[in-house]
Each structure stands twice: as structure tokens, then as C-alpha cells.
């Protein structure tokens, strides 16, 4: 590893994108992620890159669509209400099989909600917020170091599979300053972009980027191709951290910042003789179903702790498949659960 710096999460995302070879950023301001835009506005000219402050999130995502069609590594970032506006574009990008990276520094909803941390966009991200049968890869970092590493990976994944890859964090991660150690050189995996619309130069047939297939046989084939690709991604790109899961009384599952609180709960609980394991999905889609299957009969119960009304818990239940009870504890509206609250819930379940 190379340089170690103390940096704000949002700025690390921007720096990671630049290091991953992203020279095009299109965005629209919204709290709590706007530092990404500030960083890009300042740094893009240094790398002969492009920063455009769009007139809306709708325009920004369509600029991303155009830039991705032209073969560029491209980034946009926003927060929940802005990500809702981008859903139309995300569906088109998924349909046209273009690679891009989208950052969602989630805030609480519904509606304008509030600017404080939340995980209430889990469903929107992993089940498809836009129309049609599509998936995006969704990565959920839990530290500033991971924001860096996963942002770089996101560009490689996007290019490799021609898919939208989302980095999903929250205001804690985005606003928090933490040490981050950068590599001296990023691994930028070269991808075939012979499909890109860069001009034929009269040397090849014209390229067409589209998501419309009026012929139903062709559209079904296109959908089957997408589904085959998603299957391949499930096999290759599932990421999960399994922590302290040897013979636990209970396994807590949590992602992002909540998983960090849970790690502290685990230490406190140990002193009281309660053994808690943690399964932390890093890729929310593809969901680490196999890991849950593997541990399904190990603890007495599962507990999903989330900053929402209970979203990921549905995927945990599907994966555990009735083999053990799956409980839920969540806070909403920007409220963060304390260690004690989580421990109390654990004790209540184990009683």
C-alpha cells in the first residue's frame, strides 16, 4: 500500500473514482453527498476530465447514459430523493447494458424525509427501483477504507459486465473522516468497448445503443441474456464478511455502518457470556445467500439490524428458509441504535 491520509468519506469516493480512471462526472447537488461534486469540480480539470453540474438528477443520469455509450468510465452521485429521480435512466442504462457507477449516500425518507443516515433505500437498490427485470450490483462499504476499495472495484465490475454498479453508503460514512491508505497503482482491468458509439471512422458498421426491442421474441431473448449475466454475477461477485460465527448463540446480520456498531455489541456481549456472530453482506446484490444457508442451523436465531423498517430482513428470511427464527430490529428517521438497544434485543430473543 502507499500513501495514508485522513480524509472525509465523500472525498475518498471521488478520489477513488479518479484513481480508477474515471474522467467524467455528472451530478446535481444534494445533501449529504455534495462533497463528491466539490472534489470533482476541483480535480477534474487537473486530469483533463469533465465535471458537469446538470440541471437535475434526471439530466445527470442521462448524461451518464451518453458518456457510458461513448465508452467512458463515468460516475454520478446523489442521495435518496435524487436517486429516485435517476430511476428512469438507470432502467435505460440497464436495458442498453452500459457500464457506470452510481453513488447513493442514503438519507431518510419517505419524501424529502431528512438528511440523516438511513438504509431505507435497500429495496429500491436491490429489487429494482426502475421498471423492468433488471439488477444492479450494489456494494455497501462500512468504513472509509472500504469506500475507497469498493469504489475502485465498482468501475471494474461495471466494465466487465456492462452493468450499473452502485456504492450505497449513508451520511455517517460520507461525512466521517477516517484514515485511508491508497495503493500506489490501481488495477484498472481493461474491458472490450468495441460496442461504444465513438464514430465509425468509416472503418466499421455503425454501433447502436438502445434498450428498445419491439419484436417480442427479440426482447425475450434480450431479457434472457440479461438474466444469464446476472446469474454469472451472482456466482462471481458476491461479497460478505463472516465474523465470530463459530458456535454463536445468535447471528446478527447488518450492513454498512450498522455492522460497525454490531461489532462493538459483540465485544460487550462476550463479557456477559453471550456469543454473537455477524454476517455482513458487502454486496447487497448479489446477496450472500449461500453464506446464510451455510450458517442457517448454527445459531439459535438470527437478528437483522437495519436503519429502516425491515428490508434486508426479507432476504435473510429467504436465505435462512425457516430453519431458524429471523428477528428484526431497526431505527428510522435518522435515529441510530445504541449498542445497549441492540444487546437488549439480543437478550430478549435468547430469553
Amino acid at each position: 500500500m502507499g500513501e495514508k491520509l485522513l480524509m472525509k468519506g465523500n472525498e475518498v469516493i471521488a478520489e477513488a473514482a479518479l484513481r480508477a480512471g474515471c474522467k467524467h462526472y455528472f451530478g446535481y447537488p444534494i445533501t449529504p453527498q455534495t462533497e463528491i461534486a466539490h472534489y470533482m469540480a476541483k480535480k477534474m480539470p487537473e486530469v483533463d476530465g469533465v465535471f458537469v453540474q446538470a440541471e437535475s438528477e434526471v439530466a445527470a443520469i442521462n448524461m451518464v447514459y451518453g458518456a457510458a455509450a461513448a465508452g467512458a468510465r463515468v460516475l454520478t452521485s446523489s442521495s435518496s430523493p435524487g436517486i429516485s429521480l435517476k430511476q428512469e435512466g438507470i432502467s435505460y442504462i440497464a436495458g442498453a447494458e452500459l457500464p457506470c457507477v452510481i453513488v447513493n449516500i442514503v438519507r431518510c425518507g419517505p419524501g424529502l424525509g431528512g438528511i440523516l443516515p438511513a438504509q431505507c433505500d435497500y429495496f429500491q437498490a436491490v429489487k429494482g427501483g426502475g421498471h423492468g427485470d433488471y439488477k444492479m450490483v450494489v456494494l455497501a462499504p462500512s468504513s472509509v477504507q472500504e469506500l475507497y476499495e469498493l469504489t475502485v472495484d465498482a468501475f471494474n465490475i461495471a466494465d466487465k459486465y456492462r452493468i450499473v454498479t452502485m456504492i450505497m453508503g449513508d451520511g455517517i460514512l460520507g461525512q466521517m473522516m477516517e484514515a485511508v491508505e491508497f495503493r500506489n497503482q490501481e488495477e484498472i482491468i481493461p474491458a472490450d468497448k468495441s460496442w461504444a458509439t465513438t464514430g465509425t471512422e468509416m472503418k466499421r458498421d455503425n454501433n447502436m445503443v438502445t434498450s428498445i426491442y419491439i419484436n417480442p421474441e427479440m426482447l425475450e431473448k434480450h431479457n434472457q441474456k440479461l438474466q444469464a449475466k446476472y446469474k454469472q454475477i451472482e456466482e462471481n461477485e458476491t461479497r460478505v464478511e463472516v465474523y465470530n460465527c463459530e458456535n454463536p448463540d445468535i447471528i446478527i446480520t447488518a450492513f454498512g455502518t450498522v455492522a460497525r456498531i454490531v461489532k462493538n455489541v459483540i465485544k460487550t456481549a462476550e463479557k456477559e457470556g453471550i456469543k454473537i456472530g455477524l454476517i455482513r453482506p458487502i454486496s447487497l446484490w448479489p446477496f450472500p445467500t449461500q453464506e446464510f444457508e451455510k450458517y442457517a442451523e448454527v445459531p439459535k436465531a438470527f437478528l437483522s439490524v437495519e436503519l429502516n423498517a425491515g428490508q434486508m430482513v426479507e432476504d435473510v428470511k429467504l436465505a435462512v428458509n425457516g430453519k431458524r427464527p429471523v428477528h428484526f430490529y431497526g431505527r428510522m428517521g435518522g435515529m441510530i441504535p445504541s449498542q445497549q438497544e441492540i444487546l437488549d434485543k439480543v437478550k430478549e430473543i435468547l430469553k
Binding site: 448524461m63 428512469e88 464514430g199 438502445t210
Partner: protein
């Protein structure tokens, strides 16, 4: 024997899906002729809209990108910002550009985005079967204004060229028509100039083309051409609004 007339190279040898008497085919051909004459097919990227011309990416020989409804100027912005040496044009109808895509066209023009919009105004939604468009004329009967467009109920038609010509970033704004030979030739000149302005890096250019929709107007093709002349042109005056004397 000398060839005096042939299909432009930039246009594929395909039969188009447009209704009899529709002028989209003429506009496609004019764009293709200009691309040929400027020798820019290899670096041109077109952006197709949503509407009757959603699949006109099939008809051109240059690279093409299909955009969501109204978003073509944003998509064009993305393409152009990646490869500034490309010539990027959007092809949009009145519903696409002047209703759902109003923000995108206004702000592409505001930024002085170096792209060209070909705006086909036929005063109606064609693809979805003849609904009222933002450019539908007063008293014009459509499927969603069955008693005619009335100011109290529907407000007034949008004059896109007049609107955009107030923006500094829009350097070339011209309204033309394709209802007769003379005007078709003028339309071609305007498209050519708009493309040359983009190639010279001057800024945003738009050519509004008054066009027909005999099917949804309920008129015979010849009567539709006359309707452009008699009804549309008095309300949408032809001519250059901006950039006439711009050197290219």
C-alpha cells in the same frame, strides 16, 4: 450515364416505417445529405428520441444512441463531453423536446453545449395516436382536445425557437419547413449551417422543422402540406432567429 440522384451514403437502404405523406423521411434524407456533403459520417453520433422516430437509429449509417423521452439533449451532452471531436445531433419531436424534455433542451442550450438539435414540429403526438402537443395550434382538434385547443383549458402553444433564442448559449436558431421544394432546400441549408456551427465549436444550434402528420391530422398528404402553409406558418413564422451571420 451520369448519376444525378442517389441515396445518401449516411442513410441505410431500408424502407422506412413512417405513414404515407409523413415528412420525417424527408428530414432524415436532408440530415444524411448534409452528413455526406460535410464528409462527417465517420464521426457523427445521432441521438434518437421517443416518438414516431424512436428507431431512426436503424436508418442512419453513423453511430446512434436511443434516448429516453425528452432526454436526448442530456444524452447528447454526455456523448459530446467524452469525445468533443464527434458531431452529435439529437432528433426530437414536439412532445419529446417541448413537453417532457423542456428542461433538458433549455439547459443544453443554456450551457452552450456543442450539439445540434433537429426539432420536428408537427403540432401533435404521432406515435401515441394524435394527442395534444405543446405546439398544437389554438382550436386544433386532437384526441385529447376533442373540442379543439382552448386557452382556458389547455393554455397556449410553445414557440420553441423564440424561447431558446433568448439564451446566450444558443448561437444558431432557425425555423424552417418541408412543405414544398423551396422550403425543403432552405431546411437543408439550415441543417448544414447548424452542423458547421457545431464543427466550428461555436455553441448550441437548433433547427425547428415544421412537419406534417396526415394520419393524426386526419388530412390527405397533399392537404397536410397545405395545412403547414396555411395554419402552421402564420403562427410559427419561418426564418432565422439567431446566428444567421455567424462565420463558419
Amino acid at each position: 450515364m451520369a448519376t444525378v440522384f442517389k441515396r445518401p451514403h449516411a442513410l441505410k437502404d431500408l424502407s422506412m416505417h413512417y405513414c404515407p405523406g409523413c415528412t420525417h423521411g424527408i428530414v432524415h434524407r436532408l440530415i444524411a445529405e448534409v452528413i455526406d456533403e460535410l464528409g462527417i459520417e465517420g464521426k457523427t453520433i445521432g441521438v434518437s428520441p421517443v416518438g414516431c422516430t424512436y428507431n431512426n437509429y436503424e436508418y442512419f449509417n453513423c453511430d446512434m444512441v436511443q434516448a429516453a423521452h425528452g432526454r436526448a439533449p442530456a444524452v447528447g451532452t454526455g456523448i459530446k463531453r467524452v469525445n468533443p471531436d464527434n458531431l452529435v445531433f439529437t432528433y426530437q419531436g414536439d412532445g419529446d423536446l417541448a413537453a417532457i424534455g423542456t428542461a433538458e433542451i433549455v439547459h443544453a442550450a443554456t450551457r452552450g453545449e456543442k450539439i445540434t438539435s433537429i426539432f420536428v414540429n408537427n403540432a401533435i403526438y404521432g406515435m401515441t395516436s394524435g394527442q395534444m402537443a405543446p405546439t398544437t395550434l389554438m382550436n386544433q382538434v386532437t384526441t385529447t382536445s376533442p373540442f379543439g385547443r382552448k386557452p382556458d383549458l389547455h393554455g397556449f402553444p410553445v414557440k420553441v425557437c423564440e424561447l431558446l433564442s433568448t439564451l446566450e448559449g444558443a448561437v444558431y436558431v432557425e425555423r424552417v419547413s418541408v412543405h414544398d421544394i423551396k422550403n425543403i432546400m432552405n431546411a437543408k441549408k439550415a441543417i448544414k449551417k447548424a452542423f458547421q456551427i457545431q464543427m466550428a465549436g461555436k455553441g448550441f444550434a437548433i433547427v425547428e422543422i415544421l412537419s406534417t402528420c396526415p394520419t393524426n391530422w386526419g388530412l390527405k398528404p397533399v392537404d397536410a402540406l397545405k395545412w403547414v402553409q396555411d395554419k402552421m406558418i402564420p403562427f410559427y413564422p419561418l426564418g432565422n432567429f439567431k446566428g444567421k451571420d455567424l462565420e463558419v
